[in-house]
């Protein structure tokens, strides 16, 4: 079972397909869950504090806006952990954790820069594209050695 970073990191479709074909999806929920389940100072809603953008300095310089560095503190550790990645290009309507295009650009770059198997595709816009989309992901994940039902 491989740890597969999904982009958009909030994607229901990718999260489902990765798990369905026997691997572990790495996305926003994993990092947010860690924040929500760790004690510290109360900082609703997502328990991020000023320390998180500071942690983000590992991936982006101080002149990079705090919201980007904060998001990178969520994703940076996951990218380091990732053994493969699936990237959907131009997800123009994924919000919140994926709501900042500058973060997304850097995140994609970090994934592309890493020497791991990577699949890049677009959202399907028809049934035929749906077949290609699922087939590409399934084949990619089978190649990673997953076992599925």
């Amino acid at each position: 079972m491989a740890k597969v970073f999904i982009y958009p990191a909030t994607s229901l479709i990718l999260s489902d397909l990765v798990a369905r074909f026997g691997h572990q999806p790495l996305g926003s929920a994993i990092s947010i869950r860690e924040h929500i389940q760790t004690s510290g100072f109360d900082s609703p809603p997502i328990q991020m504090t000023s320390e998180d953008p500071q942690k983000g300095l590992k991936w982006a310089a101080v002149e990079v806006p705090s919201g980007i560095r904060g998001r990178l503190s969520l994703y940076g550790p996951l990218v380091e952990e990732a053994e493969a990645a699936i990237i959907i290009d131009e997800p123009d309507l994924a919000f919140g954790c994926m709501g900042c295009e500058r973060t997304n650009e850097l995140l994609c770059f970090m994934l592309r820069e890493k020497d791991i198997p990577r699949l890049e595709l677009n959202y399907p816009t028809s049934r035929e594209e749906g077949v290609t989309f699922v087939a590409a992901i399934k084949e990619f994940l089978v190649d990673l050695g997953g076992e599925y039902e």
Partner: protein, 152 residues
């Protein structure tokens, strides 16, 4: 600042979405309740949310998927269900992730079709079906970029 004492530590929460003419969100929730054995199930307008130990949650999800294999989708969630911090009633608006789900749920019918069509394909057929998308892998050539960076 107030100290924060987290609840549901060491649990996972997963969304179960359904988009099917044959299976309703209520069907999913009822099926989940039947096998819950104390695991927390929350019925929602799109299916349900399940919170428990990773093993318990997987134990419930596996049979749920079988109800409508191509049209049930599962995703991790960071928050436990009904969390006041993410509740629409408390913040006025939907959490941002909700809109992302709205976007993808409009596309899942293509995924369902894709899952159905690829389910019984041989590896060769799968490769052929995937061919077009696989080309995108080389759309951005990291090796060339690395070479350029090294030259800098």
């Amino acid at each position: 600042m107030k100290p924060y004492d987290p609840q549901y530590v060491n649990t996972v929460t997963k969304y179960v979405f359904v988009d099917s003419p044959d299976t309703t969100p209520q069907d999913i929730a009822i099926a989940a309740y039947e096998i819950a054995k104390g695991v927390m199930i929350k019925e929602t307008c799109f299916g349900c949310q399940i919170t428990g130990s990773p093993e318990d949650v997987d134990r419930i999800i596996a049979p749920l998927r079988k109800l409508d294999p191509y049209r049930i989708y599962v995703k991790d969630r960071g928050f436990p269900p009904g969390d006041a911090r993410r509740c629409r009633a408390n913040s006025g608006g939907a959490r941002p992730g909700y809109l992302g789900h709205e976007y993808e749920m409009a596309l899942v019918r293509y995924i369902a079709y894709g899952l159905e069509q690829t389910d019984h394909m041989t590896p060769e057929e799968l490769k052929a079906a995937a061919g077009q998308e696989k080309l995108m892998q080389s759309a951005f050539d990291v090796a060339v970029l690395e070479h350029l960076i090294e030259e800098e």
